[in-house]
Protein backbone atom coordinates (compact mmCIF):
# COMPACT_ATOMS: atom_id res chain seq x y z
CA UNK A 1 0.00 0.00 0.00
CA UNK A 2 1.20 3.50 -0.74
CA UNK A 3 2.13 4.83 2.74
CA UNK A 4 0.94 8.35 1.93
CA UNK A 5 -2.38 7.04 0.71
CA UNK A 6 -2.56 4.94 3.87
CA UNK A 7 -2.05 8.00 6.06
CA UNK A 8 -4.57 10.03 4.10
CA UNK A 9 -7.17 7.31 4.61
CA UNK A 10 -7.40 8.59 8.18
CA UNK A 11 -9.29 11.51 6.69
CA UNK A 12 -11.82 9.33 4.84
CA UNK A 13 -15.44 9.45 5.87
CA UNK A 14 -15.62 5.71 6.62
CA UNK A 15 -12.74 6.08 9.09
CA UNK A 16 -14.63 8.88 10.83
CA UNK A 17 -17.65 6.84 11.90
CA UNK A 18 -17.86 6.84 15.70
CA UNK A 19 -16.75 3.66 17.45
CA UNK A 20 -18.13 2.15 20.62
CA UNK A 21 -17.83 4.38 23.65
CA UNK A 22 -17.47 7.58 21.67
CA UNK A 23 -19.49 10.29 23.37
CA UNK A 24 -21.26 12.96 21.36
CA UNK A 25 -20.05 15.41 24.03
CA UNK A 26 -16.73 15.35 22.15
CA UNK A 27 -18.21 16.74 18.92
CA UNK A 28 -18.86 20.35 20.06
CA UNK A 29 -15.22 20.84 21.23
CA UNK A 30 -14.05 19.49 17.84
CA UNK A 31 -16.30 22.00 16.08
CA UNK A 32 -15.32 24.80 18.45
CA UNK A 33 -11.62 24.29 17.78
CA UNK A 34 -12.26 25.09 14.12
CA UNK A 35 -14.58 28.04 14.73
CA UNK A 36 -12.48 29.59 17.51
CA UNK A 37 -9.49 29.52 15.13
CA UNK A 38 -11.15 30.93 12.02
CA UNK A 39 -13.04 33.51 14.10
CA UNK A 40 -9.64 35.23 14.34
CA UNK A 41 -10.62 36.88 11.06
CA UNK A 42 -12.86 39.31 12.98
CA UNK A 43 -9.79 40.63 14.81
CA UNK A 44 -7.66 41.24 11.73
CA UNK A 45 -7.95 45.00 12.31
CA UNK A 46 -5.31 44.72 15.11
CA UNK A 47 -2.78 44.41 12.25
CA UNK A 48 -4.00 47.56 10.45
CA UNK A 49 -1.59 49.97 12.10
CA UNK A 50 1.49 47.66 12.19
CA UNK A 51 0.94 46.72 8.52
CA UNK A 52 0.81 50.40 7.58
CA UNK A 53 4.17 51.02 9.36
CA UNK A 54 6.29 48.11 8.13
CA UNK A 55 8.88 50.41 6.53
CA UNK A 56 8.64 53.41 8.84
CA UNK A 57 8.21 51.20 11.98
CA UNK A 58 7.26 54.04 14.38
CA UNK A 59 5.21 55.99 11.81
CA UNK A 60 4.02 55.45 8.25
CA UNK A 61 6.56 56.31 5.56
CA UNK A 62 5.62 57.08 1.92
CA UNK A 63 6.63 53.51 0.94
CA UNK A 64 4.23 52.01 3.47
CA UNK A 65 0.84 50.55 2.57
CA UNK A 66 -2.07 52.91 3.31
CA UNK A 67 -5.09 51.59 5.28
CA UNK A 68 -7.15 51.72 2.08
CA UNK A 69 -4.83 49.02 0.71
CA UNK A 70 -4.55 46.79 3.79
CA UNK A 71 -8.34 46.73 4.20
CA UNK A 72 -8.47 44.58 1.04
CA UNK A 73 -6.87 41.68 2.94
CA UNK A 74 -10.00 41.55 5.11
CA UNK A 75 -12.41 42.24 2.24
CA UNK A 76 -10.98 39.49 0.01
CA UNK A 77 -10.97 36.99 2.91
CA UNK A 78 -14.69 37.53 3.53
CA UNK A 79 -15.63 37.47 -0.16
CA UNK A 80 -13.70 34.19 -0.59
CA UNK A 81 -15.31 32.86 2.62
CA UNK A 82 -18.79 33.15 1.09
CA UNK A 83 -17.69 31.83 -2.30
CA UNK A 84 -15.83 28.81 -0.91
CA UNK A 85 -18.65 27.91 1.50
CA UNK A 86 -21.04 27.91 -1.46
CA UNK A 87 -18.67 26.06 -3.83
CA UNK A 88 -17.31 23.37 -1.52
CA UNK A 89 -20.52 22.49 0.37
CA UNK A 90 -21.35 19.50 -1.84
CA UNK A 91 -17.73 18.30 -1.70
CA UNK A 92 -17.92 18.47 2.10
CA UNK A 93 -21.07 16.34 2.08
CA UNK A 94 -19.24 13.76 -0.06
CA UNK A 95 -15.92 13.53 1.81
CA UNK A 96 -17.12 14.12 5.36
CA UNK A 97 -16.14 16.65 8.04
CA UNK A 98 -12.64 15.39 8.88
CA UNK A 99 -11.14 15.88 5.43
CA UNK A 100 -12.89 19.26 5.07
CA UNK A 101 -11.57 20.40 8.47
CA UNK A 102 -8.07 19.24 7.52
CA UNK A 103 -8.11 21.20 4.25
CA UNK A 104 -9.50 24.18 6.17
CA UNK A 105 -6.62 23.95 8.70
CA UNK A 106 -4.06 23.70 5.88
CA UNK A 107 -5.52 26.70 4.05
CA UNK A 108 -6.02 28.87 7.13
CA UNK A 109 -2.66 28.05 8.76
CA UNK A 110 -0.85 28.03 5.41
CA UNK A 111 -2.49 31.33 4.46
CA UNK A 112 -0.80 32.99 7.44
CA UNK A 113 2.58 31.63 6.28
CA UNK A 114 2.13 32.83 2.68
CA UNK A 115 0.98 36.22 3.98
CA UNK A 116 4.05 36.35 6.26
CA UNK A 117 6.25 35.86 3.17
CA UNK A 118 4.37 38.71 1.47
CA UNK A 119 4.92 40.98 4.49
CA UNK A 120 8.61 40.03 4.64
CA UNK A 121 9.19 41.07 1.01
CA UNK A 122 6.63 43.90 1.32
CA UNK A 123 4.49 42.77 -1.60
CA UNK A 124 0.75 43.23 -0.91
CA UNK A 125 -0.57 40.85 -3.65
CA UNK A 126 1.14 37.96 -1.86
CA UNK A 127 -0.39 39.00 1.47
CA UNK A 128 -3.83 39.15 -0.13
CA UNK A 129 -3.25 35.77 -1.82
CA UNK A 130 -2.12 34.26 1.50
CA UNK A 131 -4.60 35.57 4.05
CA UNK A 132 -7.34 36.73 1.67
CA UNK A 133 -7.54 33.81 -0.78
CA UNK A 134 -6.00 30.77 1.00
CA UNK A 135 -7.15 31.98 4.40
CA UNK A 136 -10.59 32.80 2.97
CA UNK A 137 -10.97 29.24 1.66
CA UNK A 138 -9.99 27.98 5.11
CA UNK A 139 -12.61 30.30 6.62
CA UNK A 140 -15.43 29.16 4.32
CA UNK A 141 -14.67 25.45 4.56
CA UNK A 142 -14.04 25.61 8.29
CA UNK A 143 -17.27 27.51 8.93
CA UNK A 144 -19.52 24.92 7.29
CA UNK A 145 -17.55 21.73 7.99
CA UNK A 146 -18.88 20.82 11.47
CA UNK A 147 -22.45 22.11 11.06
CA UNK A 148 -24.27 19.12 9.54
CA UNK A 149 -22.27 16.72 11.72
CA UNK A 150 -23.49 18.53 14.83
CA UNK A 151 -27.09 18.48 13.58
CA UNK A 152 -26.85 14.69 13.14
CA UNK A 153 -25.34 14.14 16.59
CA UNK A 154 -27.95 16.35 18.26
CA UNK A 155 -31.29 15.68 16.52
CA UNK A 156 -32.94 16.51 19.86
CA UNK A 157 -31.25 19.94 20.14
CA UNK A 158 -29.93 21.02 16.72
CA UNK A 159 -30.19 24.74 17.49
CA UNK A 160 -28.15 24.47 20.67
CA UNK A 161 -25.50 22.30 19.00
CA UNK A 162 -24.92 24.56 16.02
CA UNK A 163 -25.20 27.64 18.22
CA UNK A 164 -22.38 26.31 20.36
CA UNK A 165 -20.07 25.87 17.36
CA UNK A 166 -20.96 29.12 15.65
CA UNK A 167 -20.50 30.88 19.00
CA UNK A 168 -16.84 29.94 18.54
CA UNK A 169 -16.62 32.12 15.45
CA UNK A 170 -17.80 35.08 17.52
CA UNK A 171 -15.32 34.21 20.27
CA UNK A 172 -12.37 33.80 17.90
CA UNK A 173 -11.72 37.54 17.81
CA UNK A 174 -11.52 37.70 21.59
CA UNK A 175 -8.64 35.23 21.47
CA UNK A 176 -7.10 36.39 18.19
CA UNK A 177 -6.76 40.08 19.12
CA UNK A 178 -4.88 39.70 22.45
CA UNK A 179 -2.85 36.81 21.02
CA UNK A 180 -1.70 38.94 18.07
CA UNK A 181 -0.95 41.91 20.33
CA UNK A 182 1.00 39.71 22.75
CA UNK A 183 3.03 38.10 19.97
CA UNK A 184 3.85 41.44 18.30
CA UNK A 185 4.94 42.80 21.67
CA UNK A 186 7.16 39.73 22.12
CA UNK A 187 8.76 39.86 18.65
CA UNK A 188 9.11 43.62 18.14
CA UNK A 189 12.56 45.16 17.85
CA UNK A 190 13.86 48.65 17.10
CA UNK A 191 13.80 47.78 13.38
CA UNK A 192 10.59 45.77 13.19
CA UNK A 193 7.08 45.60 14.65
CA UNK A 194 7.35 41.79 14.67
CA UNK A 195 4.45 41.29 12.24
CA UNK A 196 6.19 38.62 10.12
CA UNK A 197 7.10 36.51 13.15
CA UNK A 198 3.59 36.98 14.56
CA UNK A 199 1.98 35.78 11.31
CA UNK A 200 4.26 32.71 11.21
CA UNK A 201 3.52 31.90 14.87
CA UNK A 202 -0.23 32.35 14.44
CA UNK A 203 -0.24 30.15 11.33
CA UNK A 204 1.44 27.33 13.24
CA UNK A 205 -0.61 27.80 16.43
CA UNK A 206 -3.93 27.83 14.56
CA UNK A 207 -2.96 24.83 12.42
CA UNK A 208 -2.18 22.74 15.52
CA UNK A 209 -5.32 23.97 17.30
CA UNK A 210 -7.52 23.08 14.30
CA UNK A 211 -5.89 19.64 14.03
CA UNK A 212 -7.37 18.90 17.45
CA UNK A 213 -10.80 19.17 15.81
CA UNK A 214 -9.65 17.07 12.82
CA UNK A 215 -8.55 14.23 15.09
CA UNK A 216 -11.53 14.44 17.47
CA UNK A 217 -14.47 14.75 15.08
CA UNK A 218 -16.64 11.70 14.29
CA UNK A 219 -19.85 11.16 12.36
CA UNK A 220 -22.60 9.02 13.89
CA UNK A 221 -23.51 5.64 12.43
CA UNK A 222 -26.40 5.70 9.95
CA UNK A 223 -28.94 4.29 12.39
CA UNK A 224 -27.66 6.09 15.49
CA UNK A 225 -30.04 7.99 17.74
CA UNK A 226 -29.46 9.52 21.18
CA UNK A 227 -30.50 7.17 23.99
CA UNK A 228 -34.15 7.70 24.80
CA UNK A 229 -34.72 10.05 21.87
CA UNK A 230 -38.06 9.51 20.17
CA UNK A 231 -38.80 11.87 17.27
CA UNK A 232 -42.13 13.61 17.88
CA UNK A 233 -45.06 11.74 16.31
CA UNK A 234 -46.43 14.99 14.95
CA UNK A 235 -43.50 17.26 14.07
CA UNK A 236 -43.84 21.02 14.19
CA UNK A 237 -45.55 22.61 11.20
CA UNK A 238 -42.29 23.72 9.56
CA UNK A 239 -40.11 20.75 10.50
CA UNK A 240 -39.60 18.13 7.81
CA UNK A 241 -37.40 15.04 7.66
CA UNK A 242 -37.98 14.71 3.91
CA UNK A 243 -34.60 15.31 2.25
CA UNK A 244 -34.04 18.04 -0.31
CA UNK A 245 -30.77 18.15 -2.28
CA UNK A 246 -28.69 21.33 -2.33
CA UNK A 247 -29.39 21.84 -6.04
CA UNK A 248 -33.13 21.39 -5.54
CA UNK A 249 -33.19 23.63 -2.46
CA UNK A 250 -31.81 26.39 -4.67
CA UNK A 251 -35.06 26.24 -6.69
CA UNK A 252 -37.39 26.64 -3.72
CA UNK A 253 -38.82 29.98 -2.54
CA UNK A 254 -37.97 28.89 1.02
CA UNK A 255 -34.23 28.99 0.27
CA UNK A 256 -34.46 32.53 -1.07
CA UNK A 257 -36.69 33.71 1.78
CA UNK A 258 -34.14 32.40 4.29
CA UNK A 259 -31.33 33.94 2.20
CA UNK A 260 -33.13 37.30 2.35
CA UNK A 261 -33.73 36.96 6.11
CA UNK A 262 -30.07 36.22 6.78
CA UNK A 263 -29.01 39.05 4.47
CA UNK A 264 -31.33 41.59 6.14
CA UNK A 265 -30.45 40.54 9.70
CA UNK A 266 -26.71 40.60 8.98
CA UNK A 267 -26.92 43.91 7.09
CA UNK A 268 -28.62 45.52 10.09
CA UNK A 269 -26.17 44.08 12.62
CA UNK A 270 -22.99 44.60 10.65
CA UNK A 271 -23.98 48.21 10.00
CA UNK A 272 -23.73 49.01 13.69
CA UNK A 273 -20.79 46.65 14.33
CA UNK A 274 -18.59 48.16 11.63
CA UNK A 275 -19.22 51.74 12.80
CA UNK A 276 -19.55 51.07 16.53
CA UNK A 277 -16.45 52.95 17.66
CA UNK A 278 -16.94 56.23 15.73
CA UNK A 279 -20.72 56.04 16.24
CA UNK A 280 -20.66 56.05 20.06
CA UNK A 281 -17.95 58.73 20.11
CA UNK A 282 -19.93 61.02 17.80
CA UNK A 283 -23.29 60.39 19.48
CA UNK A 284 -21.90 61.21 22.94
CA UNK A 285 -19.23 63.85 22.22
CA UNK A 286 -16.97 64.65 25.16
CA UNK A 287 -18.23 61.68 27.16
CA UNK A 288 -16.90 58.71 25.19
CA UNK A 289 -13.22 58.69 24.23
CA UNK A 290 -11.37 56.20 22.01
CA UNK A 291 -10.59 53.90 24.95
CA UNK A 292 -14.23 53.72 26.05
CA UNK A 293 -15.29 53.21 22.44
CA UNK A 294 -12.92 50.22 22.23
CA UNK A 295 -14.51 48.86 25.41
CA UNK A 296 -17.93 49.29 23.77
CA UNK A 297 -16.76 47.30 20.72
CA UNK A 298 -15.47 44.56 23.04
CA UNK A 299 -18.81 44.42 24.82
CA UNK A 300 -20.65 44.12 21.50
CA UNK A 301 -18.38 41.19 20.56
CA UNK A 302 -19.26 39.52 23.83
CA UNK A 303 -23.00 39.87 23.17
CA UNK A 304 -22.46 38.71 19.58
CA UNK A 305 -20.86 35.57 21.04
CA UNK A 306 -23.41 34.98 23.81
CA UNK A 307 -26.36 35.60 21.47
CA UNK A 308 -25.20 32.81 19.18
CA UNK A 309 -25.60 30.25 21.94
CA UNK A 310 -28.56 31.81 23.75
CA UNK A 311 -30.86 32.49 20.80
CA UNK A 312 -29.99 29.31 18.87
CA UNK A 313 -30.65 27.22 22.01
CA UNK A 314 -33.92 29.08 22.58
CA UNK A 315 -34.98 28.26 19.01
CA UNK A 316 -35.20 24.54 19.91
CA UNK A 317 -38.24 24.94 22.18
CA UNK A 318 -39.53 28.18 20.57
CA UNK A 319 -39.22 27.16 16.91
CA UNK A 320 -37.01 28.83 14.28
CA UNK A 321 -39.76 30.93 12.72
CA UNK A 322 -40.79 32.49 16.04
CA UNK A 323 -37.16 33.04 17.03
CA UNK A 324 -36.51 34.96 13.82
CA UNK A 325 -39.71 36.95 14.43
CA UNK A 326 -38.23 38.01 17.77
CA UNK A 327 -35.00 39.09 16.02
CA UNK A 328 -36.89 41.19 13.52
CA UNK A 329 -39.55 42.75 15.76
CA UNK A 330 -37.35 43.38 18.80
CA UNK A 331 -34.44 44.41 16.56
CA UNK A 332 -36.54 46.97 14.67
CA UNK A 333 -37.90 48.43 17.94
CA UNK A 334 -34.40 48.72 19.39
CA UNK A 335 -33.03 50.34 16.23
CA UNK A 336 -35.83 52.94 16.33
CA UNK A 337 -34.99 53.56 20.02
CA UNK A 338 -31.25 54.10 19.48
CA UNK A 339 -31.45 57.72 18.22
CA UNK A 340 -33.74 58.59 21.16
CA UNK A 341 -31.23 57.20 23.67
CA UNK A 342 -28.61 59.32 21.93
CA UNK A 343 -30.75 62.48 22.11
CA UNK A 344 -31.40 61.89 25.84
CA UNK A 345 -27.67 61.35 26.38
CA UNK A 346 -28.19 57.97 28.03
CA UNK A 347 -24.99 55.99 27.45
CA UNK A 348 -26.09 52.88 29.46
CA UNK A 349 -29.39 52.68 27.55
CA UNK A 350 -27.62 53.12 24.20
CA UNK A 351 -25.09 50.41 25.12
CA UNK A 352 -27.85 48.06 26.30
CA UNK A 353 -29.90 48.49 23.09
CA UNK A 354 -26.84 47.98 20.87
CA UNK A 355 -25.78 44.92 22.88
CA UNK A 356 -29.17 43.23 22.46
CA UNK A 357 -29.15 44.05 18.73
CA UNK A 358 -25.72 42.44 18.41
CA UNK A 359 -26.85 39.37 20.34
CA UNK A 360 -29.58 38.89 17.72
CA UNK A 361 -27.09 39.50 14.89
CA UNK A 362 -25.10 36.54 16.25
CA UNK A 363 -28.30 34.62 16.91
CA UNK A 364 -29.30 34.97 13.26
CA UNK A 365 -26.07 33.26 12.15
CA UNK A 366 -26.41 30.49 14.71
CA UNK A 367 -30.09 29.72 14.11
CA UNK A 368 -29.96 29.51 10.32
CA UNK A 369 -28.42 25.98 10.11
CA UNK A 370 -31.23 24.53 12.26
CA UNK A 371 -33.83 26.48 10.21
CA UNK A 372 -32.35 24.94 7.04
CA UNK A 373 -32.45 21.51 8.65
CA UNK A 374 -36.13 22.04 9.50
CA UNK A 375 -36.90 23.05 5.92
CA UNK A 376 -34.70 20.73 3.86
CA UNK A 377 -33.82 17.81 6.18
CA UNK A 378 -30.29 16.76 7.16
CA UNK A 379 -29.33 15.13 3.84
CA UNK A 380 -27.29 18.01 2.34
CA UNK A 381 -27.80 20.65 5.00
CA UNK A 382 -24.06 21.47 5.04
CA UNK A 383 -24.04 22.26 1.33
CA UNK A 384 -27.25 24.30 1.58
CA UNK A 385 -25.78 26.17 4.56
CA UNK A 386 -22.68 26.92 2.50
CA UNK A 387 -24.76 28.43 -0.29
CA UNK A 388 -26.85 30.57 2.03
CA UNK A 389 -23.68 32.13 3.48
CA UNK A 390 -23.36 34.15 0.26
CA UNK A 391 -25.98 36.34 1.99
CA UNK A 392 -23.33 37.12 4.61
CA UNK A 393 -20.78 38.19 2.00
CA UNK A 394 -23.40 40.40 0.32
CA UNK A 395 -24.43 41.93 3.66
CA UNK A 396 -20.80 42.55 4.61
CA UNK A 397 -20.54 44.81 1.56
CA UNK A 398 -23.97 46.49 1.81
CA UNK A 399 -24.28 47.10 5.59
CA UNK A 400 -21.17 49.18 6.29
CA UNK A 401 -21.43 50.98 2.93
CA UNK A 402 -25.04 51.96 3.64
CA UNK A 403 -24.26 53.38 7.07
CA UNK A 404 -21.16 55.22 5.81
CA UNK A 405 -22.91 56.83 2.83
CA UNK A 406 -26.09 57.78 4.68
CA UNK A 407 -23.99 59.37 7.44
CA UNK A 408 -22.00 61.34 4.87
CA UNK A 409 -25.18 62.50 3.14
CA UNK A 410 -26.58 63.62 6.50
CA UNK A 411 -23.42 65.57 7.32
CA UNK A 412 -23.48 67.15 3.84
CA UNK A 413 -27.02 68.36 4.58
CA UNK A 414 -25.81 70.08 7.75
CA UNK A 415 -27.09 67.51 10.27
CA UNK A 416 -24.96 67.61 13.47
CA UNK A 417 -22.61 64.62 13.73
CA UNK A 418 -24.34 63.45 16.94
CA UNK A 419 -27.51 62.88 14.91
CA UNK A 420 -25.92 61.76 11.65
CA UNK A 421 -26.64 58.07 12.34
CA UNK A 422 -30.39 58.46 13.04
CA UNK A 423 -31.54 57.93 9.44
CA UNK A 424 -29.26 54.88 9.11
CA UNK A 425 -30.90 53.37 12.17
CA UNK A 426 -34.41 53.97 10.83
CA UNK A 427 -33.31 52.32 7.56
CA UNK A 428 -31.98 49.33 9.51
CA UNK A 429 -35.32 49.08 11.34
CA UNK A 430 -37.04 49.10 7.92
CA UNK A 431 -34.76 46.29 6.70
CA UNK A 432 -35.66 44.24 9.76
CA UNK A 433 -39.38 44.87 9.11
CA UNK A 434 -38.80 43.49 5.60
CA UNK A 435 -37.10 40.47 7.15
CA UNK A 436 -40.16 39.93 9.33
CA UNK A 437 -42.37 39.78 6.22
CA UNK A 438 -40.01 37.20 4.64
CA UNK A 439 -40.21 35.09 7.80
CA UNK A 440 -44.01 35.28 7.80
CA UNK A 441 -44.00 34.08 4.18
CA UNK A 442 -42.00 30.90 4.97
CA UNK A 443 -44.11 27.76 4.37
CA UNK A 444 -43.17 24.06 4.28
CA UNK A 445 -41.28 22.96 1.14
CA UNK A 446 -43.47 21.59 -1.64
CA UNK A 447 -43.13 17.75 -1.68
CA UNK A 448 -42.19 17.84 -5.39
CA UNK A 449 -38.76 19.13 -4.27
CA UNK A 450 -38.13 16.16 -1.95
CA UNK A 451 -35.41 13.75 -3.08
CA UNK A 452 -36.83 10.35 -4.04
CA UNK A 453 -33.83 8.10 -3.27
CA UNK A 454 -31.02 10.02 -1.55
CA UNK A 455 -27.78 7.99 -1.77
CA UNK A 456 -26.64 6.98 1.73
CA UNK A 457 -23.03 7.60 2.70
CA UNK A 458 -20.99 6.18 5.51
CA UNK A 459 -22.24 7.20 8.88
CA UNK A 460 -25.39 9.22 8.85
CA UNK A 461 -26.17 9.87 5.22
CA UNK A 462 -23.71 12.69 4.77
CA UNK A 463 -21.24 14.87 6.56
Amino acid sequence: MNPQKGWLRFLDRENTVAGPGYSRALVPPAALSIHLAIGQAYSLSVFNLPLSRLVGVTKSSPEDWPLTTTVWIFNVAFIVLGASAALFGKWLERVGPRRAMFVSALCFGGGFLVAAAGIAIHWIPLVILGYGVFGGIGLGLGYISPVSTLIKWFPDRPGMATGLAIMGFGGGAMIGAPLAQGLMEHFKTAQSAGVVETFVSMGLIYFVFMMFGVVTVRVPAADWKPAGFVPPATPRALVSDSPVTADEAFKTPQFWLLWAMLFLNVTAGIGILSQASPMIQEMFPGRINAGLAAAFVGLLSLFNLAGRFFWASLSDPLGRKRTYMVYFVLGALLYVSLPTTGRHGSVPLFVACAAVILSMYGGGFATIPAYLRDMFGVFQVGAIHGRILTAWSAAALVGPTLVTYVRKAQLDHGVPSAQAYSVSMYIMAGLLALGFLCDVAVRPVDPRHHARNPVPKAGAASA
Partner: protein, 56 residues
Protein backbone atom coordinates in the same frame (compact mmCIF):
# COMPACT_ATOMS: atom_id res chain seq x y z
CA UNK B 1 -21.72 -3.87 15.74
CA UNK B 2 -23.52 -3.36 12.47
CA UNK B 3 -22.19 -3.56 8.95
CA UNK B 4 -22.94 -0.81 6.47
CA UNK B 5 -22.27 -0.93 2.75
CA UNK B 6 -20.46 2.17 1.60
CA UNK B 7 -19.51 2.85 -2.00
CA UNK B 8 -18.88 -0.78 -2.83
CA UNK B 9 -17.07 -1.84 0.31
CA UNK B 10 -18.22 -3.20 3.61
CA UNK B 11 -17.31 -0.96 6.51
CA UNK B 12 -17.76 -1.98 10.11
CA UNK B 13 -19.86 0.56 11.88
CA UNK B 14 -19.90 0.75 15.64
CA UNK B 15 -22.59 2.41 17.63
CA UNK B 16 -21.46 5.37 19.65
CA UNK B 17 -22.73 6.17 23.08
CA UNK B 18 -25.10 9.02 23.79
CA UNK B 19 -23.73 11.17 26.55
CA UNK B 20 -20.83 10.35 28.75
CA UNK B 21 -22.10 6.86 29.44
CA UNK B 22 -21.59 3.76 27.32
CA UNK B 23 -17.94 3.29 28.15
CA UNK B 24 -16.85 6.80 27.24
CA UNK B 25 -14.00 8.39 29.12
CA UNK B 26 -14.94 11.35 31.31
CA UNK B 27 -11.33 12.48 31.40
CA UNK B 28 -11.25 12.62 27.61
CA UNK B 29 -14.39 14.77 27.55
CA UNK B 30 -13.13 17.15 30.25
CA UNK B 31 -9.77 17.46 28.47
CA UNK B 32 -11.45 18.15 25.12
CA UNK B 33 -13.62 20.88 26.61
CA UNK B 34 -10.59 22.35 28.41
CA UNK B 35 -8.68 22.62 25.11
CA UNK B 36 -11.32 24.95 23.69
CA UNK B 37 -12.81 26.30 26.91
CA UNK B 38 -9.64 27.72 28.44
CA UNK B 39 -8.64 29.92 25.47
CA UNK B 40 -12.25 31.07 25.15
CA UNK B 41 -12.45 31.88 28.87
CA UNK B 42 -9.18 33.84 28.59
CA UNK B 43 -10.60 35.79 25.62
CA UNK B 44 -13.87 36.55 27.41
CA UNK B 45 -12.00 37.62 30.57
CA UNK B 46 -9.69 39.95 28.59
CA UNK B 47 -12.70 41.49 26.82
CA UNK B 48 -14.69 41.93 30.03
CA UNK B 49 -11.72 43.60 31.70
CA UNK B 50 -11.63 46.20 28.91
CA UNK B 51 -15.43 46.55 28.78
CA UNK B 52 -15.55 47.26 32.52
CA UNK B 53 -14.12 50.73 31.77
CA UNK B 54 -17.49 51.66 30.26
CA UNK B 55 -19.21 51.35 33.59
CA UNK B 56 -16.56 53.03 35.78
Amino acid sequence: MANTKVEGEIVRVAHAGDAAGAGSNWLEIVAAWAVVGLPLAWGVFTTLKKAAQLFQ
